[in-house]
């Protein structure tokens, strides 16, 4: 399992694109927002938590098809499926690798980008915590979507169409938590719900994704 994780991480690092692309995309989205809505400090600091969340979500979405598509194309997914490791574990590792290469950097860079958007001082902690709690769910749900569309030739657009509605609850609770934290309200309820969604997705969805992959590999 660790070998597989290391392999995926190495591939993501060395193949180029995978690792830096999501981050660059996140940066560009955040930079574009002030151009679109105007540079007023007050407005920007009010919408900053939401902008950071939607940027992170889109950056995550962008890299989803890399989770399985490359392994599908060169046939290593078939080999992995016949390996002694259960497919559920493989899917979990793949999600974990995606989270480490995409989700974690996004979480780390979000407070830095917050400076560009005049994020209120007390919100840095909350945007960090909410993304830390939410991005695992994004990766796992995304892996499910990637498994659904892995065999398709033009799966990219369809993948977005399938995955975005599934992201709605995570986005609502995550952005709500960051927003409440920014305005100094209690963040307990959305934090617990967000953590609950993440925990349930991580626990259950790998089984579904593995079932989907079995169907696709049939």
């Amino acid at each position: 399992m660790i070998a597989l994780l290391l392999r995926d991480l190495n591939l993501a690092m060395r193949a180029g694109g995978g690792f830096g692309l999501g981050l660059s995309f996140f940066l560009i989205v955040t930079v574009m927002v002030p151009f679109a809505v105007g540079p007023e400090t007050e407005l920007l600091s009010r919408i900053a938590p939401g902008v950071l969340w939607i940027g992170a979500l889109l950056a995550c979405l962008l890299s989803l098809d890399r989770i399985l598509a490359l392994d599908w194309e060169d046939g290593s997914l078939d080999l992995l499926a016949t390996a002694p490791l259960p497919l559920e574990a493989i899917v979990t590792i793949k999600s974990l690798a995606h989270w480490i290469t995409t989700g974690l950097p996004l979480v780390l860079i979000a407070p830095v980008l917050g400076v560009l958007l005049h994020l209120p001082a007390n919100a840095y902690l909350w945007i960090f915590v909410s993304l830390l709690l939410g991005t695992p769910a994004l990766s796992v749900i995304g892996t499910f979507g990637a498994a659904l569309t892995v065999g398709l030739k033009r799966g990219g657009l369809l993948l977005s169409l399938l995955v975005l509605p599934l992201y709605v609850p995570t986005l609502i609770f995550g952005a709500e938590m960051a927003r409440r934290g920014a305005s100094g309200l209690s963040t307990e309820t959305p934090m617990l719900l967000l953590a609950g969604i993440s925990a349930a997705s991580v626990a259950l969805l790998p089984f579904v994704s593995a079932a989907v992959l079995r169907i696709n590999l049939r």
């Binding site: 659904l148 369809l158 599934l166 609502i172 709500e176």
Partner: protein, 251 residues
């Protein structure tokens, strides 16, 4: 005699064709009758004026939009567990009807919201969850269209339907948490609406034709699903026959 006999496409076609004419007549009669009753034979509401009559399309359409997804969920479960092809095709056949119903509910809701709330759209929990439901329908239909192998498509869409249902319910509670809205609570089915005289109720003048419309829409959905499922079965049969013909021509 069990319900599983209808998993046989031939039996399903024979029976559905027998009951369909009656269902067509009944559903159209109920829908048209209910709409005429609602539009022309009820008084204007003293506060809402004639816009109240949008209810006769809005509420039945919204009801069927949710129930269509629920029916797809049940059909997908039957396909996953018992692998009856008719069930998978019924789920496929129901999706476009569901998406149209959702669209009707959204559009009539906007038309109703403009004079009543002064806005076409509000990010209200009910409105938002219907929009999310609409997106789920689109994804479901797109996945059916994208996959070539029919059995793989049926499997994958069934799983998407199951997972999507969980997330649709989650979204429903998420938006409820996110924003308290303009849309009123469920007032049609409340006990007082039919029998008593509770304060917040839909008056019986409106409730009776509304129930007729709901019945009409439900039957219309049922007969459309039967009809479209029949079409899907025939389309698949034609494909099989063509394939067999090609094989024989080559041999």
């Amino acid at each position: 005699m069990s319900i599983w006999e209808y998993a046989n496409p031939k039996k399903f076609l024979a029976t559905s064709e027998k009951v369909m004419p009656a269902l067509w007549v009944l559903s159209i009669a109920l829908t048209v009758g209910g709409l005429i009753w609602g539009f022309f034979l009820t008084p204007d509401d003293y506060r809402q004026g004639s816009t109240v009559k949008i209810i006769f399309i809005h509420v039945p359409a919204a009801l069927m939009a949710i129930n269509a997804w629920f029916m797809m969920l049940v059909a997908s479960l039957i396909w996953v567990i018992r692998r009856h092809h008719v069930s998978a095709l019924a789920a496929k056949a129901a999706a476009p009807i569901g998406v149209v119903m959702t669209l009707i509910a959204l559009i009539t809701g906007a038309l109703w919201g403009q004079p009543m709330w002064g806005t076409w759209w509000a990010w209200d929990p009910r409105l938002t969850s219907f929009l999310v439901l609409f997106l789920f329908y689109l994804g479901y239909i797109a996945l059916w269209e994208a996959i070539e192998d029919p059995d793989t498509a049926a499997d994958l869409t069934a799983i998407l339907c199951l997972v999507g249902s969980v997330f649709a319910v989650l979204s429903r509670y998420a938006v409820l948490f996110w924003n308290q809205g303009l849309h009123q609570g469920a007032s049609v089915m409340r006990a007082g609406a039919v029998a008593g005289d509770t304060e917040e109720r839909v008056s019986n003048v409106f409730a009776t034709p509304l129930f007729v419309c709901m019945g009409g829409f439900a039957l219309l959905f049922l007969v459309l699903v039967l009809y479209r499922t029949g079409t899907e079965i025939r389309a698949r049969r034609i494909k099989a026959l063509l394939a067999r013909e090609r094989l024989e021509a080559e041999a």
